[in-house]
Structure formats: structure tokens, C-alpha cells
Symmetry: C2
Subunit: 384 residues, 2 copies
């Protein structure tokens, strides 16, 4: 009775973890939530009258223009007519899946990659292939070979990647764009973390800005900088792809919430730069606190790169062969939630001995206490 | 490069009509917009702090409970755990399509039916079959035969149907529910217009409340009663279907806008009954004005049922063989937009000589002037 794709709806492990992480007293490194104290309630003065009525599927014209202006400042060629406002950038992943994936369609991803994108692509039946992500970007030989096999698209998160926190350097950005252009493979670039930069020297110009021949879809979000609860994101697409995406958006939910589009616009037009600066200061402190706690408690048990931006540490246990999913029940019993590494891999190896730790949502005391709980658990594990 | 389903994205005729209908000076009977003066801007006092943060995919618990309570008052067996808050009820159609439709899946619909549902089902590859809708409900013999062929589901709009304005009477509701139960075919009941009732004697108890064996999904909306711009709708599902729909919702946009859920809840907890009473009074007047204008100007050229609720007149021209799409360019040149009948049919006959006219969004002078323009056009057509 149900569709074939429904059988590909993946397990509820992640939902279960995130739900359990809400329990009182639980320290959660599991989700990717902004710090709640950074989420100011908006004032609703001067809201234009029309926002309660049906609106355009494309989004509010003034917000599309503001997004285009910001995209141009990032180095992209972008007209407002290429901007589609979304109900969160997660919706962009759904639209991309509908636009591009039939059962068996090959798709190229980083390993590890954003698990909710992976789930959506697999749900629509994609043949998900992966390229290992190194410290400064993807394995370029593997990337070129993967693109030569002509996937329908490559889904990449070059800047402060989820879950790894890594940021492609300029050489890897250039080489990746060149390889995409050479094969004319469509790039879907997911870029929700770019404003959360803590080490300013990072190269952050989008890959889309470097392309000259390959078509592209760029996904952006206001959830990490303004308010996830408003569900406002956007995509920017090559002109030839835009009309399809617009029809798909209309079929999905007619248009995005107009009140929230207006609230986002009014914040972009206010002191958004100052807000971002404060956000970076707060999150940089928390990153440094988690890095210090990890160095103190887990310096011998695990390895990690201190992330130059974004929301996550990606912790690789030094003892191989431990599937971190097996650690989770005991961790949660002691009051700590984290995200095991396995669901982030398109084709997971036998035992993924990595985990993702969020540092934006916990206060300093919880960061220290959570790392202490994790260290105790890992040390017992090694002894036991 | 694009998915096979993208080739089934239908034409942009409807988008073009609705876009053109926005032009200054145009009288639009084309869309289904609430009267703008009924859409009050909310006050944002007492908004709970948490609404800017990520929230549950199911929706806000208090809103789910309020929806369940209203559903029970309509006669449905409904617990809050069966309620999923949606980004507009259009999203429910997208989720239903994903859950139930593979290429070639048979689906049973009324003819005519809601065109954006039809488009979504066809986009996912459904084999759309239809049952003619009579004055008091579907042709019951055709319905029973259609259900005996075991479609994956039946999509029905029993109350103030879009586009026909018709309302199943009690006998047709009972017989339809009985036929669904007999074949255990899943019912998707779309019910966005139920509160816009002008002739109070209408039987409006949902079909879902009458089912005893068939699974069901009920789609509800706040767009017609509170504010379409907020994009808040909901579905209620048989318990066995709920977990799938929840996962699909999460994959589509994580969760619905929390601020808007709170605004809807606060209006439900306020004088919602008084608001509905005022809305019905206003729309009843406009319905009566359009009915009077049509009777005066088009009594010989067309036939229609004065709709007991909802937002639309469905006008059948008395001269057969006129495809109303051919009238549209000249009508729009003279300043009138309407929706031609053809896109509302799963398998349209050669020339659909019907059209849908909205009466909620135009003021009395525009209602009269629009009908006058239409009458002139039709009289010229008959003479020409």
C-alpha cells in the first residue's frame, strides 16, 4: 500500500537521540542548536500589512534582493531572480532530491556528510557514492574519478563542514571547481555555517563562485545566525535550473512564511554585522573551551582538528574498532548525548569509531562536565 | 540530467494566471484568497522565549492538543499524538504523495478536483482516475467501482469542494465511508473550507469520522480562517500511518515555523468563534452579491449551484464546446482574471466549458464589475 520509497525511510536512531537529549539534566553534544541566549525575540513594529495574505512562491522581493546582494559580496554572480526563499534550507535538499533523483541515480558526496541530506537522497533512491574528506578538502584523485563517472550531482559542504568542521583551503576549492567544470557535473553547495567563522584567515568564497561551466545550486540558511524556529533559508540557482525549482517549491508548500521573511529582512537591514560579531565571539569561546577540555581529558584517547568555524568537533577515537553507537546508551544513562559517526557515512565502514560533538548549545560548565563524562566512559571502555 | 518526474512538472498556466491577476486594476476571480481586511496583524506580546530555537517535527504540543480537541468536537476519534503540524496543508499533499505514490500507482479523485493536489499526484507519477461529482456528492456506482479496483488511496474534498463548491449530503457521506471501509481503501480527506459555512444546515461531519476499518489522513488548514501568510496547517492520521508521515515531515523542512504556530494557538484560544462568525457574515454577503450579479447578467448563458460554503462558484457555460481557456486572454486584456476549468480534471474532456470564480477576495463593486465583464465577453462569444 505504501510507496517503494517509504521502505527507504531510515531508522529513527537520530530522532531518538535528539528526543532523549531534551530530557532535563541531559548535557547534549548531539544536535546542532544555536545558543538559546543568542535568539532574541523580534519586535513586530512596522510589519507591513500584507504579510498575512498568500504571497509569491519565489519569496518576498526585498528579501530576495538582500540575499542576492550578500551573495554578490561573497563573490557570486547573482541576480535576485535566481534567489528562491525556502522554508529552511532543509527544504532545498528536498527540492534537489525531487529535481534530480530517480531510483538508482548516482550522487557524489563527501564522507562523512550531513546525515539529513544523505537520508533524503537515499529516500529518493540515489546510489550514494563518496569521496573521503581530508584536512584541507576532498581527496582530489578520488573526486576526479567520482566526477568522471558522471553523477547527477555532487553535494558538498566546503565551509565548516557538518559533521567534520573542516574547511576546504583555496587550492582544494580551485581544484574541486575545475574538476566540476571539466565534467560539467551539477554542484549542490550547502553553506549554512559560513558566517560562524572563528579563524578569520579561512578561505570561504563559495565553490559556486568559481564555476564557469558547471550548473549549480547554492543552499543558504538563517537558522544558524538568526533563528531556526523561523524556518527561513534560501537557494540560489543557475538560471536554467530556477524555473523547475520554483515549481517544486510551489508544490511543496506554496510559499514560505511571510511574517518570518519580513523579520529576517528587518534583521539583515539592522545591525546584522554586529550581531554576527557577537555570535562569533561567543561561539569562539565555547569552541576554545571544548578544545581545552578535550585536550586535557582525551588527548591520548582521541584525535580531532580544532574547527576553524561552524558548530562541531569531529572526534576520532584512537582505538579503532569501537562503533560509537555502542557507547551511546551508557553515555545517555550518565546524562550525556552525542551523535555517533555511523549515520554520517553513505557506505559506512564496519565500525565507525568517530563521533560529532556540538559546542554552541552548552554553557561552559556543561561543556566541561560533558567532556569529563565522555572521558570517563572512554577510559572505562579501554580498561574493560 | 534531471529526474524523470521533473518531466511531469505541469505547465505554468496557473502560475501565469495568478501572477497576471496581481496587476494593478485587475479584478481577480482566479485565486482563492481570503479578504485582506479579515487578516489582522497579530500582536507579539507574551510570545514564549523558546520559539526562535529548533522545535519538534510534530509541532508545538499545545497546538497539537488544541487541534485534537477541535477534531473531537467535529466527531473524530483523535488524540494529540495523531496530529502533525504542517507548513500549510499543501505540505500534507506533498507528504501523502511521497508516502503513497510510485510511478503508475492508481489514485481515485473527484472530477473536478483541487488542481494543486492533482499536479502533485501526477508529478509523483500517479495514475489518476476520477469519479464525477454530482450536486450532493460523488456518483456512488462509479465510486464503488473505482474503489473495487483498489487504488492506493482516494483523495476527496467532501465539504465545500474546490473548485465546485459542493458539499456531500449525509447520505453520500455515509455511502462513501461505507464503500471505503468495504474495500479498506485509504482516505485522504482535504477539508480546508469547513469553517466557511453560509448555509448552516449543511452536514459537515468529516468522512474520516465515519470510517471504521479504512485507514485515513485528514488535512486541515488555518489559511482560510486566520492567515495564509503564516503557512500553518495540519494533518491527523490513523495511528499506524503517523510515524511515516512524521519522518517525511522532518525530511521536508525539519519542523514548522514556531512563531506562527504560537500565533495560531493564541488566536484559537481567543475569540476564534467570534472571528469565524464575522468571516462567515462577510463572505456570505459576497457570495450573495456574486450570485445576484450572475443571475442578473448570466442567467441564460450559464448554470451554477449557489455554494453553501467555501470560496468558489463553479460556472458551467450553457453553450457546450467552449474551452474556457480560450476566453482568458481577452478577459485579462479587459481586466478580469478567472480560473478555466480544464486544469481541475484528472483526464479532461476535449473542451471544458466551466470556470471557477472566487468571491471572497473582491469587494462588492469589483464583484459586480467582474461579472459584468464576464457577461459581455460571453455574449460577444455567442454572437461572434
Amino acid at each position: 500500500m505504501l510507496s517503494q520509497r517509504t521502505a527507504r525511510l531510515t531508522s529513527s536512531l537520530i530522532r531518538d537521540i535528539l528526543a532523549a537529549a531534551q530530557r532535563p539534566g541531559m548535557i547534549s553534544f548531539a544536535g546542532g542548536l544555536p545558543a538559546s541566549e543568542t535568539l532574541a525575540l523580534p519586535r513586530l513594529e512596522d510589519v507591513p500589512d500584507g504579510v498575512m495574505q498568500y504571497g509569491p512562491s519565489e519569496g518576498e522581493p526585498a528579501l530576495r534582493e538582500a540575499v542576492a546582494e550578500r551573495a554578490r559580496a561573497m563573490g557570486m554572480r547573482c541576480d535576485a531572480s535566481q534567489v528562491l526563499i525556502l522554508t529552511g534550507s532543509q527544504q532545498g535538499i528536498d527540492l534537489v532530491s525531487k529535481l534530480l533523483i530517480d531510483p538508482g541515480t548516482p550522487v557524489l558526496l563527501e564522507a562523512p556528510t550531513y546525515l539529513a541530506a544523505l537520508q533524503s537522497f537515499q529516500f529518493f533512491g540515489a546510489d550514494c557514492r563518496s569521496v573521503a574528506l581530508g584536512e584541507h578538502g576532498p581527496d582530489l584523485d578520488a573526486l576526479r574519478a567520482g566526477l568522471a563517472a558522471k553523477p547527477a550531482f555532487a553535494y558538498l559542504i566546503p565551509t565548516f563542514q557538518n559533521p567534520s568542521g573542516r574547511c576546504y583551503d583555496a587550492a582544494h576549492r580551485d581544484a574541486t571547481a575545475e574538476a566540476l567544470d571539466a565534467q560539467q557535473v551539477l554542484l549542490v553547495e550547502d553553506d549554512p555555517y559560513r558566517e560562524l567563522v572563528y579563524d578569520e584567515a579561512c578561505e570561504r568564497t563559495p565553490l559556486c563562485a568559481r564555476l564557469t561551466r558547471a550548473p549549480w545550486i547554492y543552499l543558504g540558511s538563517f537558522s544558524k545566525t538568526l533563528a531556526p524556529g523561523l524556518r527561513v533559508g534560501y537557494l540560489i540557482a543557475s538560471p536554467e535550473l530556477f524555473p523547475y525549482l520554483l515549481k517544486l517549491k510551489q508544490a511543496a508548500d506554496l510559499h514560505s512564511n511571510r511574517l518570518s521573511q519580513w523579520l529576517v529582512l528587518s534583521q539583515l537591514q539592522g545591525d546584522f554585522a554586529g550581531h554576527l560579531a557577537r555570535l562569533r565571539t561567543l561561539y569562539r569561546e565555547r569552541r576554545d573551551q571544548m578544545h581545552a577540555a578535550l585536550s586535557e581529558q582525551l588527548g591520548e584517547a582521541a584525535s580531532w582538528q580544532c574547527p576553524p568555524g561552524g558548530l562541531f568537533f569531529w572526534l576520532q577515537l584512537n582505538t579503532p574498532g569501537i562503533d560509537t553507537r555502542t557507547l551511546l546508551p551508557e553515555a545517555m544513562a550518565r546524562g550525556l548525548a552525542f551523535m555517533p559517526g555511523e549515520p554520517f557515512f553513505p557506505n559506512a565502514p564496519a565500525a565507525v569509531s568517530a563521533m560529532r560533538l556540538n559546542f554552541s548549545h552548552s554553557d561552559p560548565a556543561s561543556l566541561r562536565q560533558g567532556v569529563r563524562l565522555l572521558a570517563e566512559l572512554l577510559h572505562e571502555q579501554q580498561e574493560g
